[in-house]
């Protein structure tokens, strides 16, 4: 056996307290940092070796409380109950001690060990707040460490203190274990099969429990009267659960029962008939509180908790905080101004798209030149044949056509992450709430929608911050209409080919069209399949903060990695498959005898004959492609897409785009390159698209972009929808969007024709 110990540490705290920054500092893991309440919806995990320990860190969702009302809060508390972390680092926004400690109290009630991480300490010092951390530590019975997450200061200290606490906690292990051994053994036997892991886990949780029985953290007091009620009820809970700690600390469960927490009630009282003792005790307790205080227990408990926190804050805070929002208020005078707010919002969005497009063209040209050079070089050294065709046309042709958009993608995410980290996103939600309300959604849905411009998958996951399932589903359904970054290569390719200097504006227009259609779709769905009012909207507006280079860089690097991984994975495979389907089967009989004719022209050796040979070779290549599997598939799709102004290659590329939207471009790259000779004069994809014979019209290009904007989400998003909303909505999304895409593109193309475009 090795003597390394595995430990689990979870980070909990309010949204925007800097949890993710601390998490990054602790693990060095690449993880998104954002300045908006609730961006971290999934738990994120990172690892760190320290001394003899292998530590696993988990970044829990940011919450203000631990009720069952919001999914985030449920995720956080279920993790604490079910996964039994050895320790919780409670990240505190030291500039807002009162509200942060309100959550701390609930963590303590749950019966877990905590360390208080006083983050944002720089703001405390700047604002002249004075906090007596020693006293705070004594009052809460928890170590206190000061940190500045954005500058990675105090992280080592935090790590050292965490490990020390866990170590000390375990020095009394033997004593604790003998105390509880008998009971533990009995329980593990009941667990079948009693795996070693299960046993260890059970013992650890028992152990945790006993540590708390020693009262490391003094229990939160709600005043003598209420404390008595809680005590008797928690004894009843303990009794009724037969001492099993599977659902959590009995005192915490008792408090939750008094608060009327439906989920805990279901857990502790599965059937009122069987749990008579607890049911009656609970009813009595609730009645008792109601008659003595004239308030419902939930209110009394919340008040009590706040009272307790207020007492602590009074004792430790010597200098009351100055208003740290002053600076933010100044900015907001402009940013959320009655008249200027929206123009500023639009200007910021416009600026981001222009930068993405204009700045991106330079590195794009370099990469493009590199790809063409590579193809030429390979063609000259590799013996001609299927293998070289596969590598040059299939692999490099496919990947090359997509990789040139890497700079655009990275720039787009640069913009998004600056918006998130600075705190502007929350303001955008603030000014958009009324409009979102009109859609039957609220401002909070606006953030996932904005994130949808980056990628639909995290956007859909971030809908977990929405409390109402109906709001969530509606938001999930319209997120794919926000044009994600994977669709950008398609727009850049087609606008570059057809719209010249107006390209930036056309792309901007496409995004706006996506938003408008989302608006209409949302209204329609709210009226029909997802009836009902949206839930209230209460959200914190965090102070503006300067985004750190580190967090923005991590974010951009993460995106680059994801993009490159896509290149090496799904796009590589799709390109190869597509190439093979387009290369085989080989035709043996052609409509005319190309070989003989070419020979004859070759014999002539004139300029005219050179041209003829090229024409003949192209005609043969077309015949080959038509004969191939892809060509036949194209034949099937063509009648469906030709009313929209697309050719069959575009039709096929749309099908392959289901894998990932960038594949639309890489497929076109492969389809147009099969059978082509490669040298420095090879035509670029842009040239081929504009070709008067094989290419398409400007209007067709626009209709195609609309189609790509609207049609079925890619596989990854589909999977996310299935996971978050279920099969039904997944199928709905696929069918609805594809139909929508066809109809709108049809209207655009045919309508445009009528107007003589």
């Amino acid at each position: 056996m090795n003597d390394r110990r595995q430990i689990k540490i979870a980070l909990a705290g309010n949204p925007n307290s800097g949890k993710t920054s601390i998490f990054n500092g602790l693990t060095g893991a690449h993880q998104k940092v954002a300045n908006f309440p609730g961006v971290t919806v999934e738990k994120r995990v990172g690892y760190r070796k320290y001394g003899n320990y292998d530590i696993m860190f988990v970044d829990l969702p940011g919450t203000y409380s631990l009720t069952a009302y919001s999914l985030d809060e449920k995720v956080a508390r279920d993790y604490i109950i079910n996964m039994n972390p050895d320790l919780i680092i409670n990240v505190i926004d030291s500039g807002n001690l009162q509200r942060s400690l309100y959550l701390t109290m609930q963590l303590i009630e749950m019966g877990v060990d905590i360390i208080l991480d006083m983050n944002m300490w720089d703001e405390v010092m700047e604002n002249g707040i004075e906090i007596d951390t020693d006293k705070l530590s004594k009052l809460l019975g928890a170590p206190v460490v000061k940190t500045i997450g954005s500058r990675s200061q105090g992280i080592d200290r935090l790590l050292k203190t965490s490990v020390a606490l866990i170590e000390n906690g375990h020095t009394d292990q033997d004593e604790v274990e003998t105390e509880s051994e008998a009971r533990t053994e009995k329980e593990t036997k009941e667990e079948t099969p009693s795996s070693e892991k299960g046993r260890r886990r059970r013992r650890r949780s028992m152990h945790d429990y006993h540590r708390h029985m020693h009262h490391r953290h003094p229990p939160v007091s709600y005043g003598p009267k209420l404390d008595d009620v809680v005590k008797t009820l928690s004894e009843e809970v303990d009794h009724s659960c037969h001492g099993c700690r599977g659902c959590g600390n009995p005192r915490w469960l008792a408090i939750k029962l008094l608060e009327g927490d439906q989920e805990i009630k279901k857990r502790c009282i599965p059937s009122e008939k069987e749990n008579i003792a607890l049911t009656t005790r609970l009813e009595e307790s609730v009645e008792h509180i109601k008659t003595t205080t004239n308030e419902d227990p939930e209110m009394v408990i919340t008040e009590g908790r706040y009272g307790y926190v207020a007492g602590i804050v009074r004792e430790v805070m010597k200098q009351p905080p100055r208003d740290r929002m002053q600076f933010s208020e100044h900015i907001d005078q402009l940013v959320t101004h009655r008249l200027l707010g929206y123009p500023i919002f639009l200007a910021i969005m416009w600026l981001i798209f222009q930068t993405t497009f204009k700045l991106g063209t330079y590195p794009m040209e370099w990469i493009d030149a590199g790809v063409v050079m590579l193809q030429g070089a390979l063609a000259s050294i590799m013996p001609a044949g299927a293998i070289s065709d596969l590598i040059i046309q299939g692999v490099i042709g496919g990947i090359g056509s997509v990789i040139i958009f890497l700079p655009n993608i990275v720039l787009l995410f640069l913009g998004i992450s600056i918006l998130e980290d600075s705190g502007y996103m929350a303001r955008a939600a603030f000014i958009m709430d009324k409009l979102m309300h009109f859609l039957g959604l609220h401002g909070k849905s606006f953030i996932p929608m904005l994130m949808g411009f980056g990628c639909g998958v995290p956007a859909i996951m971030s809908t977990r911050t929405l409390e109402s399932p109906r709001d969530r589903i509606l938001t999930i359904l319209i997120i794919p209409l926000m044009s994600c970054s994977a669709r950008l290569p398609v727009y850049i390719l087609f606008t570059g080919a057809f719209f010249g200097a107006a390209a930036g504006n056309v792309i901007f227009a496409i995004y706006i069209i996506g938003i408008l259609i989302a608006v209409l779709a949302a209204r329609l769905m709210r009226k029909t399949i997802l009836k009902g009012d949206s839930l209230p909207f209460v959200m914190e507006l965090p102070p503006y903060r300067q985004p750190t280079i580190k967090s923005v860089a991590i974010h951009m690097w993460e995106r680059t990695k994801i993009y490159l991984r896509k290149m090496g994975g799904i796009i590589l495979i799709a390109s190869i498959i597509l190439w093979v389907l387009g290369y085989f089967p080989k035709k043996s009989e052609y409509s005319i005898d190309y070989e003989t004719q070419i020979e004859q022209y070759r014999f002539l050796e004139s300029e005219y004959s050179e041209q003829k040979i090229a024409e003949l070779e192209a005609a043969r290549a077309t015949e080959d492609l038509d004969y191939s599997v892809i060509g036949r598939m194209g034949g099937i799709v063509e009648p469906i897409v030709s009313p929209l102004g697309f050719n069959w290659q575009m039709g096929v590329s749309l099908i392959t785009g289901f894998v990932a939207k960038e594949v639309v471009v890489s497929s076109l790259g492969v389809l147009y390159q099969i059978g082509e000779e490669h040298d420095e004069q090879s035509e670029t994809l842009i040239g081929v698209l504009r070709d008067p014979v094989n290419g398409i019209s400007k209007l067709g290009a626009f209709a195609f972009m609309i189609f790509v904007l609207l049609y079925t989400p890619c596989v990854a998003v589909i999977v996310a929808i299935k996971r978050e909303a279920g099969w039904k909505w997944m199928w709905f999304s696929i069918v609805f969007q594809t139909t929508l895409a066809w109809v709108v593109s049809f209207i655009v193309y045919q309508g445009g024709h009528l107007f003589g475009l």
């Binding site: 009302y69 706040y306 000014i431 009324k434 209230p536 959200m539 102070p543």
Partner: protein, 75 residues
């Protein structure tokens, strides 16, 4: 009077929080409870939601929820 009636720059003391379930709980969890002082900062461009200041942070809240919060103006 309710929170809605505060003018920008005015402050009020919370007397009671009406409503029930999720919304009441959320208001309480964010620190909107009787005895607290709330300052009105401003309304969003389309008059809704409101931005209020509470403790040491700012919160955005819709008028429909602000109507649940009974306050008394303080100077």
């Amino acid at each position: 009077m309710s929170l809605n009636d505060l003018k920008p720059g005015q402050s009020g003391k919370v007397i009671s929080v009406a409503g029930q379930g999720a919304i009441r709980r959320r208001l309480l969890d964010l620190g909107i409870r009787s005895g607290e002082t709330i300052k009105m900062i401003k309304a969003a461009p389309l008059k809704d939601p409101l931005e209020i200041s509470l403790g040491n942070g700012h919160i955005s809240i819709r008028r429909s929820e602000a109507a649940l919060i009974e306050i008394k103006v303080v100077s």
